[in-house]
């Protein structure tokens, strides 16, 4: 039983549990950013995690894509909640306005076809 995960010194022993091999991300800038900013800690492509899936976000905002783009990009940076449940998103303050827009454009293209 892995009991005391937080104590980082234990990671040496448990690394194997957490690391899955993943093909390198595509060269797409937005995807790289989303990977680097560790959005995957809380979001997945097609299933709800701590936050909603990219697909669900894209589907939900599909109709008003252009209107919400800026607002949602701002929300990536500042965080906040109330749209999907009671858990607020953390702020991602290192993300710049341009980066947030890039990511947002990509996310909103992920609606399941």
């Amino acid at each position: 039983m892995i009991n005391v995960l937080y104590r980082y010194t234990s990671y040496l022993f448990f690394l194997y549990v957490f690391i899955i091999s993943f093909p390198a991300y595509g060269q797409d800038q937005a995807e790289t950013l989303i990977n680097d900013e560790m959005c995957y800690a809380c979001h997945q492509l097609d299933s709800a995690s701590i936050g909603p899936s990219w697909q669900a976000i894209a589907a939900r905002h599909a109709e008003r894509r252009d209107q919400v783009m800026q607002v949602l990009a701002g929300k990536i940076i500042r965080g906040g909640g109330g749209n999907w449940g009671v858990v607020p998103m953390v702020p991602n303050q290192r993300v710049s306005d341009e980066q947030a827009l890039l990511m947002m454009q990509w996310i909103l293209e992920q609606a399941p076809r």
Partner: protein
């Protein structure tokens, strides 16, 4: 990478004079010779003034903090303290002009700046600060202050050990999240709070799994989120968060650092920011001209910062794999020993020549090691044994061991299991060997075990362990340790907010001392052989404590910013300044990433350190 070149004596002198803003007659002459006009050089600002309360009474112990423009020559931020009569002055003049727009503020726990009067002429600036006392200390109170809410010490220790490894909880960004939870106005606030903190714990487990696999993760490898979320002991942490961080966390009163201020009007702090991206860990000062050397665990480099000019250069570790520089050890001959984020590599840098030497350790039986520290002496320098072998703590194998820098021979010995902590497999799993010191006769090394509250010694000649010694609480969290010239060992007890004082010769605990703020998590302790005191670096209290074993009294030195997650403190043998760093781990976390120099201003060394006399030990050529 190019290191600083040693200059011949005369040009060296010339440099020193050119760097000296004060105008000596000799300098004026030189300046004329060099055809530099006088006014260009004297266009420098000195800053002095007074700190007053709203009634015009002098306020002492208030920080005056000058945050300079990016690229300014020297430190990014310089801080001094007001004296008993409210006066303060900066130890050096600045090349830039000081005016109304200069970012200079006054800061004190329980105070708020309400006015600033600026009076400048060509060469100097007089700034008077007016402060008002406030009951809400939210702007200055450190993260540790909020841990006062957790009264049960065991519960607190457990929480500290779980959540404060990498950054401060609850720093302002954590408190902002508490407010965001409240802002959602959920129908069932209690449930919403629990769910939200639960998400944060999962998120943090993801980030730390990512962080601590830095030194061992394959290119392109990813963290398995679901596996990380499934970790067992989250429940108790979520309980603490939900119980104690259950409001908007925007009001705190009555926090006291618990010890007399030791800052004087001669105290000064120089902070150097390292531009992003960086993952700064520890820092020491070496070389002439003095250079701060900071480990960047992410980029396989040591960042060199020229103390006087602020100019930064990289010393790339010449390995084709990431050694992930983590801990730094100064050697008495001015070299820098670098240990990794827990893999099997050791590197040594000569900062003067920029030359590196690296080792990859493998035990005689072909086993791998996970290095944390090399053994420190009472001078806080690397001390090798009589045969020149370098001893290390092996976090991966719960072992101590040595390697021979000449032929690479490596051996380790697994530490004995402390019986009373052996039944709990989780505790044993985290019984990683962490800090390491060597006795003055170079015959024993002593180690701490962070995860299970145990420490012990090892006799190098007989190859036998001494102990183990068990600290009262399994969450005591002994981190970095230090040793005095008389072989008294001090242990920073991270979880319980204490320091332990242990007599190695007698194999006997002298005492365990509560820190003045028991919410403070001491990351390290450093014996100061000249001042005969122990410096205690806190990770979450934004202060350094000073402990005097003779009187058993603590004093406190506040740092000029929040989230100053300190790591090691080194003491520059030439000037007696303290050298340290702020290292908030994982890029997603806010807070400073800086190296800093502190002149305690206690007159313990003959010369008060300043930018004008900054130099440090130089390796022999």
């Amino acid at each position: 990478m190019q290191g600083f070149k040693q200059s011949p004596p005369f040009t060296g002198m010339l440099w020193k004079m050119l760097l000296t803003p004060r105008v000596s007659p000799a300098f004026a002459g030189l300046a004329l010779l060099a055809g530099i006009s006088f006014s260009q050089i004297t266009n420098a600002g000195s800053i002095a003034g007074q700190v007053l309360d709203a009634n015009g009474n002098a306020l002492s112990g208030i920080q005056v903090i000058y945050t300079r423009e990016p690229g300014a020559k020297g430190a990014s931020v310089v801080t001094v303290f007001s004296a008993v009569d409210g006066s303060y002055s900066f130890p050096e003049t600045f090349a830039e002009r000081i005016n109304n727009d200069s970012n200079i503020i006054a800061r004190g726990l329980g105070y708020q700046q309400i006015d600033r009067l600026v009076d400048t002429d060509r060469r100097s600036a007089q700034l008077t600060f007016v402060m008002q006392s406030v009951t809400n200390q939210v702007d200055v109170a450190p993260a540790s202050a909020w841990l006062g809410r957790i009264e049960d010490r065991q519960e607190k220790a457990d929480f500290v050990m779980n959540c404060i490894d990498c950054h401060q909880v609850p720093a302002s960004e954590v408190r902002d999240y508490a407010r965001a939870i409240d802002d959602v106005h959920a129908a069932q606030p209690e449930l919403a709070r629990r769910q939200s903190w639960d998400s944060i714990v999962k998120y943090m487990n993801f980030l730390s799994a990512w962080e601590f696999s830095r030194g061992g993760r394959a290119e392109g490898a990813e963290i398995d989120a679901q596996a990380v979320y499934a970790v067992e002991n989250s429940a108790e942490v979520i309980d603490v968060l939900t119980t104690y961080f259950n409001d908007r966390m925007d009001h705190i009163e009555g926090y006291d650092r618990g010890a007399p201020l030791i800052a004087t009007s001669d105290t000064a702090i120089w902070e150097y920011e390292v531009p992003e991206p960086n993952a700064i860990r520890e820092a020491v000062m070496l070389g002439d001209p003095a250079m701060l050397l900071a480990a960047d665990v992410n980029a396989n480099r040591i960042v060199g910062i020229d103390v006087r000019t602020g100019r930064q250069q990289n010393f790339e570790v010449p390995t084709d794999y990431l050694i992930a520089p983590h801990s730094l050890h100064r050697s008495s001959n001015g070299e820098l020993w670098v240990t990794p984020l827990f893999n099997d590599r050791v590197a040594k840098l000569n900062p003067q020549s920029g030359e590196w030497q690296t080792w990859r350790l493998k035990t005689s039986t072909g086993g791998g090691v996970g290095i944390h520290d090399l053994s420190f002496s009472s001078e806080h320098e690397l001390l090798s044994d009589a045969e020149g072998r370098v001893w290390f703590s092996d976090i991966g194998n719960r072992a101590v061991g040595f390697f021979d820098p000449v032929n690479g021979e490596t051996r380790i010995w697994n530490t004995p299991v402390a019986e009373s902590r052996a039944n709990d497999s989780a505790l044993y799993g985290t019984a990683s060997v962490y800090g390491l010191v060597m006795t003055s006769d170079r015959k024993e090394v002593w180690y701490s075990q962070l995860g299970n509250g145990v420490f012990g010694g090892f006799n190098i000649d007989t190859e036998e362990f001494i102990g183990p010694f068990v600290l009262p609480d399994p969450n005591t969290g002994p981190r970095r340790i230090t040793i005095s010239g008389d072989d008294i060992m001090y242990l920073a007890l991270y979880g319980t907010g204490q320091i332990a004082e242990f007599d190695i010769k007698k194999r006997e605990m002298i005492a365990i001392h509560d820190l003045p703020d028991i919410g403070a998590a001491p990351y390290s302790v450093t014996w100061d052989s000249v001042r005969q005191v122990v410096w205690v670096a806190t990770a979450n209290a934004d202060v350094i404590y000073r402990f005097d074993p003779a009187t058993r009294a603590f004093g406190v030195l506040p740092l000029p910013r929040e989230q100053s997650f300190l790591r090691m403190i080194d003491i520059d043998p030439a000037s007696g300044v303290l050298v340290s760093s702020y290292a908030n781990i994982v890029e997603n976390v806010n807070g400073p990433r800086m190296a800093l120099i502190i002149e305690p201003g206690d007159g313990a060394y003959p010369v008060r350190f300043s930018m004008e006399n900054a130099s440090a030990p130089t390796p022999a050529e």
